[in-house]
C-alpha cells in the first residue's frame, strides 16, 4: 500500500502504473467468450462465398439432423423480425443506402454476408453443421473496383439504380472561410507551381486481437447481452430500435474487451442475430467468431482514391488545395461508414495557412465487406495526402521538406487560428515540436549520412521522411454533429458515489478496451477530491451501472469523458460543503476545500470528505432541507474539438538491390495538451505508430476478381511482429487545450495519423534520385524494386497476392487430396 508520504503531490501528470494490469497479467480476465451459462447454446454463421448473388434455395435438412443441432435459421425465417441495421450518419440530405438486413433474405451483396445460422449445443457441433447447410446461388455481376463503381456500369445494388451513396462538398469560397481554389490553380499554372498527384489508401482491417463475441441471456427480466464491443450504450439502443425490444428491458455489458481500434464501433449483424437466437430458443446463446470470419466480415477501414491538386507560388507558399476523393463504402452503410472520409474533410489543410480549399468526396458502393471506423478514421487519409504533397512541393522546389512546411504553417503566436476549412485551432506550437523532434532524431547527422551514401552509390540508401500533423479529436460538440447529419450526440456522462467508508466509485460512460481509463480517471478524481488513488474505483461498460454514456472512439474519452468525471467531482465538493459547514458549526462562506478537507478559514478546524460521507450515510445530523447524499452526476458536452499535433521523423534503409525496407530510426514529438499519465500516453503513441507504419509497409486487405478476400487469415494479412519493428524515440511538448478545464487534447489516434506519411515519405526520399516520386502502399519490396527499375511501384496488389502456382498444379493437388 502506498503511504501518504510516497504519494505524488499531484496525481495528474504522474506515471502511475495501471490498476487494470493485475487481472490481465494473471489471467483473471472476463472476455465475452468466457461467459458460460446453464444450458447455453452456440451459434455459427453460414456465409456467402459469392460477392453478389441471388439466393435461389437453402436446404437446411441435413444440418437440422446433425447431432445436437437445436435450430437452423435462414433469412426467410426471420425476415419480419430482424429489422434493418443502422446507419447513423446522413452525410448529405439525399444520401442513398440499401436496406441492410442482419441476415440476407434473397440476395447477398458481399462475400462473407450471413445467409443462415446454426444453433447447437456446442460450438464445434454448430460449426460442423454449417458445412451441411446447402445454399444454391445464382451469381450476379459484381463490382469491386472503386473507379469502376464510379462509372456505374455494374451496380452493387441494382435496385438503387446507382453506386453513388453521397456526394459531399466543402468549398472555402462557398463557406466564406477562404478564396477560390480554381483561381489559385489557374494562377499557379501560369506563374507558379502546380502539383497534381493521385494516392491510393488501401483497404485495411482493424484486426483487434480479441475476436468478436456475443453472449445473450434471455432468461432474466432484462435481456442481458455481453459483447466484445467499444460501444455498449449504442448496442443497447440499437437492440431496442432494430429488434423492437423496450430499451428498459435490455442490459448490455462490455466486459474485458481485447482492443477495438474502431473495429468494434459497430452494431453488428451477429449481435442482432444472437439476440434473435436466444429469443427463439429461450436459452442463453453465444457466438464467437473465428479469425477468418473476423477478417472477412468485421468491418474494414480506409479504401479511397485521393486526387490532389496543390497550387503554390515559386517561393513555396501554398495558395490553394483541391481534394477529390472516391471512397469505398463496401456493400452497406454501417454505423458511421458514410461519414468516415468526411472526418478528414477539414483536415487536409492540416497545420497550414492555405488561403483557398475545396474538398469533395464521392461515396460509392461495391460488392465488398463494408468499411467503417478504423483508428484515425478520415484523418490518417487526410494527413497522408497533404504530407505527401508537401514533400512533393519541397522536391519540386529543391528545398528541405521541413523548410517548406515552416513557410506555410501556423506560427505559435497566431493561435487561436481560424482555418480555411472552418475550424478554430485553440493552441499549438509547431515550431517547438519540430525543433525538439529534429534533435531527438539527429536530423542533420542523418541527412549527412544520406548524402554520403548517395555519393558513394551505396546499394543501401537512406531515406528521411517528415510528417507534421494535427487532428480534430474529442468527438464531439453535439450541436456540430447535428449540423453534419449525425443522429446522435457527442456528450459524455459520469457519476460519483461517495461510499460510507470513504471509498469513491466513479462511473463513466466511456467504455475502455485497453486505454487505461480506470487508472487515469482515478488520478483525476484523486486530485480533485483529495482522496488516495487506491480509494477510487472506476466502473464502466455495463448499462445497468453506467446508465448513460456514448462510449469510446475518436480520441474522445479523456477530453469529453474525463471532463464529465471532473465536473461530477466538483459537484460532490459543492454538495458536501453545507453539510461540512453544519458539522463544523461554521458558515459555508468561511469554508475552503483543500487536499480532501474542508477547513474554516482562519482556524485549524477541519473535516475530511470521508467523514462528511459517513455523516451523510447515517444522516443523524444533516442540516435542515439538505439532501443526505453526496453523489453527483454530470454530463459534459464539448464546445469545440481538440487539436493535438506533432512532428514525426522517420529514417529507413532501402536495399536498392532487393527492394527491402528496414526501419532505421523513428522519432516523434507529440503535443497532446496536458498529460494525465505519461506512461499511458507513451503506450498509445507506440501502438499508434506501429499501426500507421504497418499501413505504409505491410497491411492490405486484398480481394480477388471474384470478390473473395484472399487475405482472410493472419497468414496472409500481414500484421507486424516484434521482428519487423523497432524501438521508438518519443517526446512531447505541452500546449494545453484552452477549450476544456483539464487542458487535454487526446492521444489515441495521433501515432496512426502521423506515421504513415512519415514512412512513405522516407521510402520515396531514398528513391528520389532514381527518379521515383511515388510508391503505392503497402510499400512492398516488389513495388520498390520495380519502382527503382522504372517499372512502376504504383500497380495494384491483386496479382501479387494471388497464389504463386499455376492452375494445373492446383487441380493435381486437389485430386491428390481426394476432394
Amino acid at each position: 500500500m502506498t503511504t501518504m508520504e510516497e504519494r505524488p503531490t499531484r496525481e495528474v501528470g504522474s506515471a502511475r502504473l495501471r490498476k487494470e494490469d493485475d487481472r490481465l497479467i494473471t489471467g483473471r480476465t472476463r472476455w465475452t467468450d468466457n461467459v458460460v451459462l446453464p444450458g447455453m447454446l452456440h451459434v455459427a454463421m453460414v456465409r456467402s462465398p459469392f460477392a453478389h448473388a441471388r439466393i435461389t434455395s437453402i436446404d437446411t435438412s441435413a444440418a437440422k439432423a446433425a447431432p445436437n443441432v437445436v435450430a437452423v435459421i435462414t433469412g426467410a425465417d426471420i425476415a419480419e423480425e430482424q429489422g434493418g441495421l443502422p446507419n447513423a450518419w446522413m452525410t448529405t440530405p439525399d444520401q442513398v443506402a440499401p436496406a441492410h438486413p442482419a441476415m440476407a433474405v434473397d440476395r447477398v451483396a458481399f462475400a462473407g454476408e450471413i445467409v443462415a445460422m446454426v444453433i447447437a449445443r456446442s460450438a464445434a457441433e454448430a460449426r460442423d453443421a454449417v458445412e451441411l447447410v446447402d445454399v444454391e446461388y445464382d451469381e450476379l455481376p459484381a463490382v469491386l473496383d472503386l473507379k469502376q463503381a464510379d462509372k456505374g456500369d455494374v451496380l452493387a445494388h441494382p435496385d438503387l439504380g446507382t453506386n453513388l451513396s453521397a456526394h459531399y462538398v466543402l468549398d472555402s469560397e462557398q463557406e466564406g472561410t477562404g478564396g477560390s481554389v480554381e483561381q489559385a490553380i489557374e494562377e499557379a499554372r501560369t506563374s507558379g507551381v502546380l502539383i497534381e498527384r493521385e494516392y491510393r489508401q488501401q483497404r485495411l482491417i482493424p484486426a483487434f486481437m480479441e475476436p468478436r463475441s456475443v453472449a445473450v441471456d434471455p432468461t432474466a427480466e432484462q435481456l442481458t447481452v455481453w459483447s466484445a464491443t467499444q460501444v455498449p450504450h449504442f448496442v443497447r439502443v440499437f437492440i431496442a430500435l432494430v429488434l423492437g425490444v423496450p430499451e428498459s428491458k435490455v442490459r448490455v455489458i462490455a466486459p474485458d474487451v481485447g482492443g477495438g481500434f474502431g473495429g468494434k464501433l459497430q452494431f453488428t449483424p451477429e449481435e442482432a442475430l444472437t439476440v434473435i437466437a436466444a429469443r427463439r430458443t429461450g436459452k442463453p446463446c453465444k457466438w464467437t467468431e473465428t479469425r477468418s470470419e473476423s477478417l472477412m466480415s468485421g468491418h474494414h477501414g480506409r479504401d479511397q482514391w485521393q486526387k490532389m491538386t496543390l497550387a503554390a507560388k515559386k517561393d513555396g507558399t501554398v495558395t490553394g488545395l483541391k481534394v477529390e476523393l472516391l471512397a469505398n463504402m463496401g456493400a452497406y452503410l454501417g454505423l458511421v461508414t458514410s461519414y468516415i472520409p468526411m472526418l478528414g474533410a477539414r483536415m487536409y489543410n492540416a497545420i497550414y495557412k492555405f488561403p483557398a480549399y475545396r474538398f469533395e468526396c464521392r461515396n460509392l458502393f461495391t460488392n465488398s465487406t463494408w468499411t467503417d471506423a478504423y483508428r484515425g478514421a478520415g484523418r490518417p487519409e487526410a494527413t497522408f495526402a497533404i504530407e505527401r504533397m508537401m514533400d512533393e512541393l519541397a522536391a519540386e522546389l529543391k528545398v528541405d521538406p521541413i523548410e517548406i512546411r515552416e513557410r506555410n504553417w501556423i506560427k505559435h503566436e497566431e493561435f487561436p487560428f481560424h482555418t480555411v476549412s472552418g475550424l478554430t485551432y485553440d493552441s499549438g506550437n509547431y515550431e517547438a515540436a519540430t525543433d525538439k523532434a529534429k534533435q531527438l532524431f539527429g536530423y542533420d547527422d542523418l541527412r549527412a549520412e544520406q548524402a554520403k551514401r548517395r555519393q558513394a552509390g551505396d546499394p543501401v540508401q537512406i531515406g528521411i521522411g517528415v510528417s507534421t500533423f494535427t487532428e480534430m479529436c474529442g468527438l464531439a460538440p453535439s450541436r456540430w454533429l447535428g449540423e453534419q447529419g449525425y443522429v446522435g450526440g457527442g456528450w459524455e456522462h459520469a457519476a460519483i458515489r461517495m461510499l460510507p467508508t470513504g471509498k469513491v466509485e466513479v462511473i463513466t460512460g466511456t467504455s475502455p478496451h485497453g486505454q487505461g481509463h480506470e487508472t487515469a480517471w482515478s488520478q483525476i478524481v484523486a486530485d480533485r477530491l483529495g482522496v488516495p488513488f487506491e480509494d477510487v474505483e472506476v466502473l464502466h461498460g455495463d448499462t445497468q451501472i453506467a446508465v448513460r454514456g456514448l462510449d469510446t472512439y475518436g480520441s474522445r474519452s479523456l477530453a469529453v469523458g474525463g471532463m464529465a468525471v471532473l465536473a461530477a467531482a466538483d459537484k460532490v465538493v459543492e454538495k458536501a460543503k453545507p453539510i461540512a459547514a453544519h458539522l463544523l458549526e461554521a458558515s459555508v462562506d468561511d469554508l475552503e476545500f483543500t487536499d480532501g478537507k474542508y477547513g474554516v478559514r482562519g482556524t485549524d478546524k477541519t473535516i475530511g470528505l470521508g467523514e462528511v460521507a459517513f455523516a451523510v450515510f447515517h444522516a443523524h445530523n444533516i442540516p435542515e432541507g439538505v439532501e443526505p447524499s453526496l453523489d453527483a452526476d454530470a454530463t459534459f458536452d464539448p464546445e469545440e474539438f481538440s487539436y493535438p499535433h506533432g512532428t514525426h521523423l522517420c529514417a529507413v534503409e532501402v536495399d536498392t538491390e532487393t527492394g527491402g525496407v528496414k526501419l532505421r530510426k523513428y522519432a516523434c514529438v507529440d503535443d497532446v495538451g496536458q498529460i494525465v499519465n505519461p506512461l499511458i500516453v507513451a503506450g498509445q503513441v507506440h501502438g499508434g505508430l506501429v499501426q500507421g507504419i504497418s499501413q505504409a509497409l505491410w497491411e492490405e486487405a486484398v480481394h480477388d476478381e471474384a470478390g473473395t478476400l484472399v487475405s482472410a487469415s493472419f497468414v496472409d494479412y500481414l500484421l507486424p511482429t516484434t521482428a519487423d519493428t523497432i524501438s521508438f524515440d518519443i517526446d512531447h511538448t505541452v500546449s494545453p487545450a484552452t477549450t476544456n478545464a483539464l487542458g487535454v487534447k487526446g492521444v489515441g489516434e495521433a501515432g496512426t495519423i502521423a506515421s504513415t506519411p512519415a514512412v512513405v515519405n522516407a521510402v520515396v526520399d531514398a528513391l528520389r534520385p532514381m527518379g521515383v516520386s511515388d510508391v503505392r502502399m503497402p510499400c512492398t519490396p516488389e513495388r520498390i524494386w520495380k519502382a527503382i527499375r522504372g517499372g512502376g511501384g504504383t500497380e495494384p496488389t491483386e496479382g501479387a497476392a494471388m497464389p504463386h502456382f499455376d492452375e494445373s498444379d492446383v487441380a493435381e493437388r486437389s485430386e491428390g487430396a481426394g476432394q
Binding site: 501528470g13 487481472r23 497479467i25 494473471t26 483473471r28 481485447g258 482492443g259 501502438g687 501515432g751
Partner: protein
C-alpha cells in the same frame, strides 16, 4: 473419447476427451482456465501460448490427447503464493500491455525465451517473440519488459518524464 491424465498449474485432472479436441479448448472449456485465450485459427497469433513440460507451445496447435501424462502451466499458474512471476511484474512495471488479450501468451513465450537465453539482446528478444502478435503496444514496451525481467536495464523510456505534464 479418450481418457487423459494431465497436470495443469499443479493440479491433476482426469478427463474423457474427443480425440480432435485442442489443448486450448480443453483448458478453457473443460478446466475453466479461461486466462488462456484463442486469437486466431492459423497458429499465427500466439495468444494461446502455454508451457508443456516447461517449454512454450501454442495450445491451439496441440491436441488435448497429446498432453496426456504431461504437465501444463498456464498464465494462471505462474504466480506462487500471491507473488507475481518476475515476468508478470515486468510487464506491469514497463506498461507492456494495454487491452491484455495477447498478454498471457506473450508472457509465457517471454519466459521461455529467457529460459533459453538469460540475457538476450534486443534483437534476440525481437526474434524470440516473433510468433506472438500484439496490436496495442507496438511491442516497444514488451521488449523493455523482457529486458527488465532479464535483469538488464531497459532503455530510458522517452516521453514519460514527470516534467512532461508540468
Amino acid at each position: 473419447m479418450t481418457r487423459i491424465n494431465v497436470t495443469v498449474d499443479g493440479a491433476s485432472y482426469s478427463d474423457e476427451v474427443e480425440p480432435r479436441m485442442l489443448l486450448v479448448h480443453y483448458l478453457r472449456e473443460r478446466l475453466g482456465k479461461v486466462g488462456t485465450v484463442v486469437g486466431c485459427d492459423t497458429s499465427n497469433c500466439g495468444a494461446c501460448t502455454v508451457h508443456l513440460d516447461g517449454r512454450s507451445v501454442k495450445s491451439c496447435n496441440v491436441l488435448a490427447v497429446q498432453a496426456d501424462g504431461h504437465e501444463v502451466t498456464t498464465i494462471e499458474g505462474l504466480a506462487t503464493d500471491g507473488e507475481l512471476h518476475p515476468m508478470q511484474r515486468a510487464f506491469h512495471e514497463q506498461h507492456a500491455l494495454q487491452c491484455g488479450f495477447c498478454t498471457p501468451g506473450m508472457i509465457m513465450q517471454a519466459i521461455d525465451l529467457l529460459n533459453d537465453n538469460a540475457k538476450p539482446s534486443e534483437e534476440q528478444i525481437r526474434e524470440g517473440l516473433e510468433g506472438n502478435l500484439c496490436r496495442c503496444t507496438g511491442y516497444h514496451n514488451i521488449v523493455r519488459a523482457v529486458q527488465a525481467a532479464s535483469g538488464q536495464q531497459p532503455a530510458e523510456m522517452s516521453g514519460t518524464t514527470e516534467g512532461a505534464a508540468s
